[in-house]
């Protein structure tokens, strides 16, 4: 498997930030009351992941081991603050919803984790790809989580998506009329419940795949 494919697979599924690494739980649980919020948070985090990855990778030969963590923190908080200001200025509506959580991106361990374990050892291009894939994987996970909670919790999907993406995306907004919603799922405990069941479902899929491949392997050994 080529390295590019490896990086893509890692970010999206094998080593997914939320479902496999279980990192960044604070934004994951706090912002996934709806699919739109999950998408917004995921995109903002992706921008930070890519920028911080490229910066760390560019300076990887300059940064001395003793002060590397401090420098990573400096770079990340700078990027986060810039994203925060940019969103406040040009995506103001979304910023009102996510504003509280954007500064928290800086404590998302996934970003520090990628800087330390990947970007500090690779060329900027690869670091950017890794940041992008990790970010997209994170975004997808948040969207699924937010979608499940929103659908069960209030019977809508991508409510207010047009606020984030522009009027053209209003078709995304679904609403199930007559459904009252299980309020619990929108509230914080619902985040834990939904995440738990989604991780369990993923583990079951992995276990099944493993059993199948082992079964196939055994059959092949038996055949020869």
């Amino acid at each position: 498997m080529s390295e590019v494919r490896r990086v893509v697979r890692d970010g999206l599924w094998d080593n997914n930030v939320v479902f496999a690494q279980m990192l960044g739980m604070c934004p994951t649980l706090a912002t996934t009351g709806s699919a739109t919020n999950g998408l917004g948070m995921g995109l903002a985090t992706t921008v930070v992941l890519v920028c911080s990855g490229v910066l760390v990778s560019l300076f990887r030969n300059v940064i001395a081991r003793e002060v590397r963590i401090a420098i990573y923190v400096l770079l990340m908080s700078t990027v986060v603050t810039l994203v925060d200001m940019t969103m406040n200025a040009w995506l103001h509506e979304l910023h009102k919803v996510l504003g509280l959580f954007i500064p928290l991106i800086v404590v998302n361990c996934a970003i520090m984790g990628r800087a330390e374990s990947f970007a500090s050892k690779r060329a900027p291009g690869m670091a950017a790809l890794d940041g992008l894939m990790m970010g997209v994987g994170f975004t997808l996970a948040l969207m699924v989580l937010g979608g499940v909670r929103e659908a069960i919790g209030q019977g809508t999907l991508f409510a207010d998506a047009s606020m984030l993406l522009g009027e053209h995306f209003a078709f995304l907004e679904l609403r199930l009329d007559g459904y009252r919603g299980v309020l619990l799922m929108i509230l914080p405990p619902g985040g834990f419940l939904a995440l738990g069941f989604l991780v369990a479902a993923r583990q079951r899929m992995l276990a099944r795949a493993r059993a199948r491949s082992e079964g196939a392997g055994a059959a092949m050994t038996a055949g020869t």
């Binding site: 300076f59 030969n61 300059v62 940064i63 001395a64 003793e66 002060v67 401090a70 420098i71 400096l74 770079l75 908080s77 700078t78 603050t81 810039l82 200001m85 940019t86 406040n88 200025a89 040009w90 103001h92 009102k96 309020l183 509230l187």
Partner: protein, 216 residues
């Protein structure tokens, strides 16, 4: 960056850290410069939008967000935004905090017309029980619109039905609507008590009076 400089910095971590801190500060400064005006504009828009909603029933041609006056009442200072039509104050809007509801005080934005009737009431923030008390939010129910057009002189019985008033309580929640009705009533009394002062001040004086009140 020359490799000798890089190698030199590597050997002096303190200097390296300082260099990065300087670089990051420069980026933040540039970012702030680029976005400051836009953010200020957006926040002003937010306030203006909220006031326009509250005062939509009051015809006005000024920007109420820029025409404020601070009024002392019973120990609290209330910042009042005024809507004018041809320099005449046509209505006012202000935030009013209720007595405790079920989950704590409820903050309302109240708009009152020159005639002392409610132009609109909206809930700014509350911590009432989701699904029970949060029907005071206009996004959940139209209940809060029931105040529109009412005043101290309209013969309204100010209270929820359970207390002999004419406003509905919610199924399973009486305290929340009771607190909101009480707060709206109190805000009308506040307006009545300061009516002269609120409506009379001329535009020029208002601009001067706005100075101490505006930063809040």
């Amino acid at each position: 960056m020359s490799s000798t400089l890089a190698a030199g910095l590597r050997r002096r971590p303190g200097l390296l850290l300082g260099a990065f801190a300087l670089g990051c500060s420069a980026m933040l400064g540039a970012g702030d410069l680029a976005t400051r005006e836009e953010i200020r504009q957006r926040q002003a828009d937010d306030l203006r939008h909220a006031l326009d909603q509250t005062l939509s029933a009051v015809p006005h041609d000024n920007n109420p967000a820029e025409d404020t006056i601070a009024v002392e009442d019973a120990g609290r200072s209330v910042t009042v935004y005024r809507a004018r039509m041809a320099a005449e104050v046509n209505g006012v809007a202000f935030n009013w905090v209720s007595e405790a509801g079920y989950g704590g005080p409820i903050t309302l934005t109240v708009g009152i017309g020159r005639d002392g009737r409610i132009a609109s009431v909206r809930v700014l923030s509350h911590s009432e029980t989701p699904g029970l008390g949060d029907k005071i939010d206009v996004r959940k129910s139209d209940w809060i619109r029931g105040f529109d057009g009412r005043g101290l002189d309209t013969g309204t019985r100010w209270g929820v039905r359970k207390d002999g008033g004419e406003f509905d309580q919610f199924a399973g929640a009486t305290i929340t609507p009771r607190a909101v009705v009480g707060a709206v009533h109190a805000s009308l009394k506040f307006f009545a008590a300061h009516r002269e002062h609120l409506l009379a001040a001329p535009a020029g004086a208002a601009a001067a009076a706005a100075q101490p009140g505006s930063p809040t």
